[in-house]
Amino acid sequence: MAKAFSIEDGNLTTVPLTSSITQTYKDIDLTFAKKGSGDVFKKSDAAAVRQSVKNILMTNQSEKPFQPYFGGSLNNFLFELSEEFSEIDIKETVAQAIQNYEPRARVKKVNVDLNPDYNSMKVTVEFTVVTTFETVTLEVDLVRLR
């Protein structure tokens, strides 16, 4: 059954009412590596989402202008005393940050491996890209150098 719209509502008789848009994620590569043509590389689809998730995790809260709650604060955890937080705290923070600020990713699992004797931590995030259902695993190894 064809639906009719008034002229005031846009006279859509010549325009299809529904369309299927394939969402393509296209982002700039934050390494700013140079292509042969001199242009910067792009990240697309799952790679773009993966870069975004890593960016969120590595941003400390209050670091981004005018968005004080943005970020997973992994750097902050790295420089805090190991007694003041647990692996669960990190897991919750990471999962919450991705949920709040990366709608393209659905977190499946977060794994945190703390190694306070070596001032290091390893965070593994497994998530699904919403549009493609592709499962991506991101590993972040952090070590204090000073």
Binding site: D27, P65, Q67, E102
Partner: protein
């Protein structure tokens, strides 16, 4: 293509503009996701724009006196308007200083500058000091009373810590600015001395340019101004343009008081820190407080500067309006004057154009020599330099009008432990104090209801009150001489009445009889009456003009009068409000002020 609006200052709005721009192209799509690299780049761009916009906005705001927020900007704007910003001010009290000795040979002693006194306000001890040296002369019995150069016994002492800064003048081509790194400096207390060399004992005293009216090549002036960081910059003439400049190798010694401002106000008891020595003997200084410390204040606030600087600029430090005369004269001669009023010749009675009339009220104890010197000084320093050329300044002595206040009140003894007599005395004292404290200066208006309100509030036993007010001028007649007299009142006089007299005088001797003069009931003619017998001695001794407030006596010849003058009292047309004109000052005649109580037990059950 989307338009990027450059007028947005808000970070989110700027970023949203950039996103809108990206919507129109397909190269990158992730600008909407906060974690994306593109979003990070947009953050940097938006933040940069935001900060630039903010700085531009603040810069423009600081460029105008009315919108500036930083004190340094406001101070700078005020300076370009020639406005002198008030620094932190030291509280000042006045005291009498006496030294009692048995030494009758020493004729004169001096009290050095910066003699210190200690006092306490709210359990905190403060030091006050003299800012000048004072001289005391032996009264013949060994008692020395210090006096100011004007002859006043009230010596001013100011709160603060004496600080000294010494500068050596370098190459004058450098146009040095001498910094006083003290935000609590009271710039009014600055004493600047310039010595020829670092070891020289002779020096030249420099004066604040704000206190100088005319500058010649020989003038020795300095400029003190607040620096952006709250300190003070001391500046001298450059290349002898603004008077003399200190020369290379000179030593500049600056002494000033660093004060605590308003905290030291209301100190009342002062103790000298040291005794005074002369003729190998040491004596105590006896201090009696004349006025408690007051006038201590913090630095002028930003809001105050914003309000006053444009107004000060408008006056241009010139004597143009009557208010200019009042403000400038009082500002420069407040050490001897308690009040000033001025009015244009066109407002005078009779009008005389081309003149400004000035009336000065001197403080008690100022000698006639100092009074004349002050008038001469106003004429030569202020009028001749700052007034409009064709306008002459004419001094008029203030005329005191005395109020005679008669209060009647209902008094319920059950409401208080005080007697009617005590309450009468209290009411009379209140009336006298009301006039003394609120009037007694130029342009002060007596309002009957204000005094009645004060009286009603004295005690619950005072049930209601009413008041008759008369105004009195004092006539000093020439004895044994037939003469006409005119007595001017600053108010209109009540119209003649068949019951009450409108004009009445005090007692005098006329043709051998103790007499008074008064108006004939129902007329404005004056008659002289024997106060003992009631006989009318002169039927037509003059008249009074109710509308102009003038009482005229014709062919009047007295042989004696009671007291120092003949008191002439009138009933004002409006007793509720008495506005003295021009040079008139309202005071009170205590002897003719009275209060009378009527006993009222508030018993409403009694019959009429």
């Amino acid at each position: 293509m989307a338009v990027i609006r450059s007028s947005d200052l808000d970070f989110d709005a700027i970023k949203e503009n950039l996103k809108t721009y990206f919507q129109a192209q397909s190269e990158f799509a992730d600008y909407n996701f906060e974690g994306s690299g593109l979003s990070n780049i947009l953050d940097v761009l938006a933040y940069n724009t935001h900060i630039n916009g903010l700085i531009a906005n603040m810069g423009i705001n600081e460029s105008f006196l009315s919108s500036a927020q930083l004190r340094s900007s406001v101070v700078s704007h005020a300076e370009t308007l020639g406005y002198e910003i008030t620094s932190q001010s030291a509280a000042t009290a006045t005291v009498t200083l006496t030294v009692s000795t048995s030494d009758t040979t020493t004729t004169q002693i001096s009290l050095p500058k910066y003699t210190t006194f200690t006092t306490t306000v709210d359990d905190i001890t403060y030091t006050f000091m003299t800012l000048e040296a004072y001289i005391a002369t032996n009264d013949g019995t060994g008692t020395f009373q210090f006096k100011t150069s004007e002859g006043l016994t009230a010596i001013p002492i100011s709160q603060g810590t004496l600080k000294t800064k010494t500068f050596i003048v370098g190459d004058t081509a450098d146009e040095q600015i001498y910094v006083i790194p003290d935000t609590t400096t009271d710039t009014k207390t600055l004493a600047v001395s310039v010595f020829d060399t670092t070891t020289s004992s002779s020096f030249t005293t420099y004066t604040d340019v704000q206190n100088v009216v005319r500058i010649t090549p020989q003038s020795t002036v300095f400029i003190i101004r607040e620096a952006p960081n709250g300190f003070y910059d001391l500046i001298f003439s450059s290349n002898n343009v603004l008077g003399q400049s200190p020369q290379a190798g000179n030593k500049i010694v600056v002494q000033y008081l660093s004060s605590v401002g308003a905290l030291a106000n209301s100190a009342s008891v002062f103790t000298p820190d040291n005794q005074i020595s002369f003729n190998s003997q040491t004596y105590d200084i006896t201090v009696a407080t004349v006025t408690n410390s007051s006038g201590g204040s913090e630095k002028e606030s930003i809001e105050s500067i914003k309000a006053n600087a444009p107004l000060a600029f408008a006056t241009q430090q010139r004597l143009v309006t009557a208010e200019d005369y009042k403000a400038l004269i009082l500002q420069r001669y407040s050490n001897v004057l308690s009040d000033v009023t001025a009015w244009s010749g066109s407002d005078n009675v009779p009008p005389i154009y081309g003149r400004t009339y000035v009336s000065l009220k001197f403080k008690d104890g100022i000698s006639s020599t100092v009074q004349q010197a002050t008038k001469d000084s106003i004429q030569t320093i202020l009028s001749e330099n700052l007034a409009v050329m064709s306008i002459d300044t004419v001094f008029t002595d203030p005329i005191t009008s005395f109020l005679e206040i008669s209060v009647s009140f209902d008094f319920d003894p059950d409401q208080t432990g005080s007697t009617a007599q005590t309450t009468q005395d209290l009411v009379k004292t209140t009336a006298v104090n009301f006039v003394t404290n609120n009037l007694n200066k130029f342009d002060s208006v007596f309002r009957k209801s204000l005094l009645l309100t004060e009286i009603d509030g004295l005690s619950t036993a005072i049930l209601n009150s009413s008041m008759d007010v008369k105004l009195q001028q004092r006539l000093i007649p020439t004895l044994n001489t037939v003469k006409d007299y005119t007595i001017n009142f600053p108010v209109t006089i009540a119209s003649p009445d068949d019951v009450n007299y409108r004009v009445e005088s005090g007692r005098f001797t006329f043709s051998g009889s103790t007499s008074i003069f008064r108006n004939k009931l129902g007329t404005n003619k004056l008659e002289v009456v024997n106060i003992i017998t009631g006989d009318v001695l002169v039927d037509n001794a003059g008249s009074y003009n109710a509308s102009t407030g003038v009482v005229s006596l014709s062919g009047f010849n007295l042989t004696a009068f009671e007291g120092e003058s003949v008191k002439v009292s009138i009933v004002p047309a409006n007793e509720n409000t008495i506005k003295p004109l021009r040079s008139y000052i309202l005071s009170v005649d205590e002897t003719l002020t009275s209060a009378r109580a009527t006993i009222d037990y508030q018993n409403t059950a009694t019959t009429l």
